[in-house]
């Protein structure tokens, strides 16, 4: 019902939030973004509202969703790049190896909900998610392939009282405020940390900002969490404490089940495997679970 570039503007705003980013990622001018977006909204008889910083559609989006399905099919057929969202710690190195027919988003979305929504609504084709929070039975349309694993440990500022301790228990950590996000952002992480009395000091953040995460651990004596990869990307002068969290993190590729057997999934998995093998040589704590040549089963998360 609308041209690819028209819906791109609307989807782009939902995904990347600002006209500036849409213009940059899709190679069009900002006036074109807003003109195209308006045309898409008019065609589908919708309006758009900013709620909590995210653009939400108002109205009956039935036909928009039907049309998105066609446009997604067009992307998978190669008419346009496939859209990929990642974690803030994976995006910088991933961006260097990603083939040109993939478009990487800002990779700063906090919480699984928005990412699942973008996949469900066919705005984004892939999400490189951080373990352990993967699609559950509540997301029957989505599936995941686990790519790698890595430990998660506690972090703090160098002058924090715990920084000098050689041995730590969860009780030691629980004596201090610990970073937390909004309820439900990462259900698995939240549950695991609450079980040991952590996850107490909430940060209201819908898109990742270093000053509100690693920055707070640095400046406010709050205990944070990190992985070898996140510390490399955004750790600054945070100290890694000698205690690991009771779960592992790592990367997983999340996408709609209907594409499970699509050649482009296989192709992307091969790229991701190469990328992670490379990372693993630099950071030995990263264990690549997806070996090359790619021969995996989708049963991993089912």
């Amino acid at each position: 019902m609308v041209e690819l570039e028209i819906l791109e503007a609307l989807d782009g705003l939902q995904w990347l939030r600002s006209g500036e980013e849409v213009a940059r990622r899709f190679g069009i001018s900002q006036p074109t973004v807003s003109r195209s977006c308006r045309k898409a909204l008019d065609t589908f008889e919708l309006t758009m509202e900013r709620i909590d910083g995210e653009w939400e559609l108002v109205g009956d989006a039935t036909f928009l969703q039907l049309e998105r399905e066609v446009h997604q099919m067009a992307r998978w057929l190669g008419h346009r790049p496939l859209r990929l969202e990642a974690t803030y710690w994976s995006a910088p190195s991933l961006n260097q190896v990603l083939p040109h027919d993939y478009l990487l988003g800002l990779s700063n979305i906090v919480g699984v909900k928005r990412n699942f929504q973008l996949l469900r609504e066919r705005i984004v084709d892939f999400w490189i998610a951080g373990l352990p929070d993967l699609p559950t039975d509540n997301e029957p349309e989505l599936t995941a392939v686990v790519l790698s694993r890595m430990p998660v440990f506690f972090t703090c500022a160098p002058d924090h009282p715990l920084a000098s301790q050689e041995q730590l228990t969860y009780d030691d950590i629980a004596a201090y405020p610990t970073l937390a996000l909004r309820q439900g952002d990462y259900p698995e992480v939240e549950q695991a940390l609450k079980a040991i009395g952590l996850w107490s000091d909430g940060s209201r953040m819908t898109r990742y900002r270093r000053d509100r995460w690693e920055g707070r651990a640095e400046s406010e004596l709050v205990i944070g969490y990190g992985t070898p990869l996140s510390l490399q990307v955004a750790g600054g002068n945070l100290v890694q404490l000698p205690l690991q969290l009771p779960f592992e993190s790592g990367e997983a590729l999340v996408f709609r089940k209907e594409f499970a057997l699509h050649p482009r999934v296989k192709e992307l998995l091969e790229h991701l495997s190469t990328w992670l093998q490379q990372l693993a040589t630099e950071i030995p704590e990263i264990k690549v679970t997806l070996q090359q040549p790619v021969s995996f089963t989708y049963a991993q998360t089912e």
């Binding site: 019902m1 609308v2 041209e3 690819l4 036909f63 049309e67 066609v70 099919m73 067009a74 057929l77």
Partner: protein, 310 residues
């Protein structure tokens, strides 16, 4: 991926066969049809070629088909004109019938392959045909509008007419039956054969040699099939044989199953029934139903018709 108007240009061309008819029915110019068609073929990376009088889409048209489904749903739900066509049998009956909200096509199909492809692909929205020729496709739903007798008609002076009341089914096998249209009512033909008609007849044999002087031309001896509503009887010098065949036919409206209970299907059915009642007024051997009957997949037309009679 394309505007409603743009895809409509391609679809009207595929449906109505000529750019001129597409332009007329859409109320745009022929250059617009051809420009929009070209845009579609380039965007969807397909080619359209004319084969045997009909346009055929070449290349991988999965994306085009997907987009078309969205447009079809949109026009059903947004009061945009819908597309109706029918079998050649219906042409006379449908003359002057212009249902509101619908655009009527050429109504000149002699076979079912093409119109079935059009309706399954969502290029047209509704298809009128007759049982026993109902499409057995789970994606399609048929509504039965009427039932009628099937007649045999012959020219005036045909030897069978001389038999009068003594005419029986056994007498019929000796005379050729006008071939049914190519590809048309296979089930009808089968029904005629199982009724003992044309048992020793095949299509090729009906085209006999030219008559020598003093002989009767084969065509003068040929019987033809008609219904109380179809053209041959009304328009020609032919007359109905006074015999009843163990066969019935029914007028059916076929739509894609997702639209079977759409209010716009109901509205079309209502308009069709009203029209058929007018056409059938005063005619014997035809019953136009008060309400259309949903045909159950797999059920025989006779069973459906019997249900209608109840």
């Amino acid at each position: 991926m394309v505007s409603i108007d743009c895809l409509a240009a391609l679809d009207y061309l595929l449906w109505l066969r000529t750019g001129r008819r597409a332009a007329d029915h859409l109320g745009v110019s022929q250059p617009t049809i051809s420009r929009n068609t070209r845009h579609c073929t380039e965007l969807f990376n397909i080619r359209v070629v004319k084969k045997g009088g009909e346009w055929e889409v070449l290349g991988n048209h999965a994306l085009l088909d997907a987009e078309r489904r969205v447009h079809q749903r949109y026009r059903w739900d947004h009061h945009a004109p819908l597309r109706l066509d029918g079998h050649d049998w219906m042409a006379d009956n449908l003359q002057g019938f212009q249902p509101s909200g619908w655009i009527k096509g050429n109504v000149d199909y002699r076979d079912h392959t093409r119109p079935l492809a059009l309706i399954k692909g969502g290029i047209i929205d509704a298809w009128l045909c007759s049982d026993p020729d109902r499409p057995e496709d789970p994606g399609l739903t048929a509504w039965q509008l009427s039932r009628s007798r099937i007649d045999l008609v012959v020219r005036h002076g045909h030897p069978l007419l001389e038999l009068g009341d003594h005419l029986s089914l056994d007498n019929l096998g000796h005379y050729p039956l006008m071939p049914l249209p190519e590809g048309a009512p296979a089930a009808l033909e089968q029904g005629l054969r199982s009724a003992g008609l044309a048992s020793s007849w095949d299509r090729a044999a009906t085209i006999g040699p030219s008559p020598r002087p003093g002989q009767v031309a084969t065509e003068d001896l040929t019987m033809a099939i008609a219904s109380p509503l179809t053209g041959p009887l009304q328009a020609s010098d032919m007359v109905r044989l006074p015999i009843s065949l163990p066969l019935e036919q029914a007028d059916l409206l076929v739509v894609r199953s997702e639209f079977a209970h759409h209010p716009r299907t109901a509205s079309l059915i209502e308009q069709l029934l009203a029209h058929l009642r007018t056409v059938a007024a005063g005619l014997e051997g035809i019953t136009v139903f008060d309400q259309a009957l949903l045909c159950t997949p797999g059920a025989t037309p006779a069973a459906t018709a019997a249900a209608g009679a109840r």
